[in-house]
Amino acid sequence: MPAILRSLQRLLKVLEDNGVAYMVIGGYALPFYGRIRATVDIDLAVAISSEEEWNRLCPWLQKNDFEVTISSIQNPLILALDKKENVEIELWLRPDGIVFDGETLRRRRKMKLDENVEAWVVSPEDFIVNKLARPDRGAVDEQDVKSVLVRQESKLDWEYLKKRAREAGILTILQAIQAE
């Protein structure tokens, strides 16, 4: 198993053991819904909203060889460095455009990453919103979204997608990509 999956497997176990809801977002979610392209970043959205929750989780991460670089939930992004595998995983407390509510969590999907690794993956609709709501959105993100729109065309919940896109202020861009 590649180091990154071994690392992810350990991290997911820590999250699950501590009852922290999470989902894989970004490049590692893309092959399930859109095109297949290489990426370095591994991003996880984690549903932690209070200092208490974070303070409870932090020692468990450290106990499992994850060094946390920024230790405050004021940051939308926390980096967890796996010292054992030398892998860095980005933990998003406030992923761009995603409202971390019950509906988002209900819509995430359990996917097989390897024979022994299963993980919750963001829904294709929230994947699209997250990609387009990035402040540093680039051509690659728009290409990713286009590939998801093509592969998932008949399977997307358009009503939900439009609602979330409107809330995130990216409906016009989404429509422009769809029309191209």
Binding site: P2, I4, L5, Y28, L30, P31, F32, G34, R35, I36, R37, A38, T39, V40, S71, Q74, N75, P76, L77, R94, D96, M111, K112, L113, D114, P135, D136, R137, G138, A139, D141, E142, Q143, D144, K146, S147, V148, V150, R151, G169, I170, T172, I173, A176, I177, E180
Partner: protein, 136 residues
């Protein structure tokens, strides 16, 4: 200074802790231009700068925070749909081809995630060996 640049600064500062250096990296402009853009935006009361406490040593970091007027500006900007597409028509056509290719692989029983991991390993090996050859 374009409206788009102002919106980019506001987008970045609204979603994450963002300092002047982050803005320079994001807008890929001369630092002096960015400094004058931020100064102008402060005068227009779109942003304000605040000092944050650091856990380690060093001076407190100055971060840019959007004001309520700045957030209103950002919302209006988004609504007007003034953010152009970054991708060209050809880029999106390429993405369509990639998606259809992935779809065919799935139809032939391949696991898209397994293929993605294989591709990632190849890409990472190329990166490592090119770094090593640069070092010699």
């Amino acid at each position: 200074m374009s409206l788009e640049q102002k919106a980019q600064v506001l987008e970045a500062s609204a979603s994450a802790q963002c300092g002047v250096r982050d803005v320079v990296r994001m807008l890929t402009c001369k630092t002096s231009r960015i400094v004058s853009l931020l100064k102008k935006m402060e005068e227009e009361r779109l942003i304000e700068s605040r000092k944050t406490l650091r856990s380690g040593r060093g001076r407190p970091k100055k971060v840019i925070v959007p004001t309520s007027l700045g957030l209103e500006f950002l919302n209006a900007y988004r609504k007007m749909g003034m953010m152009p597409l970054r991708a060209r028509k050809e880029d999106l056509e390429h993405a369509v081809k990639d998606a259809l290719y992935a779809e065919r692989l799935v139809a032939f029983g391949h696991s898209p995630f397994k293929l993605f991991m294989e591709l990632n390993i190849i890409a990472s090996n190329i990166k490592v060996s090119s770094k090593a050859s640069q070092g010699t």
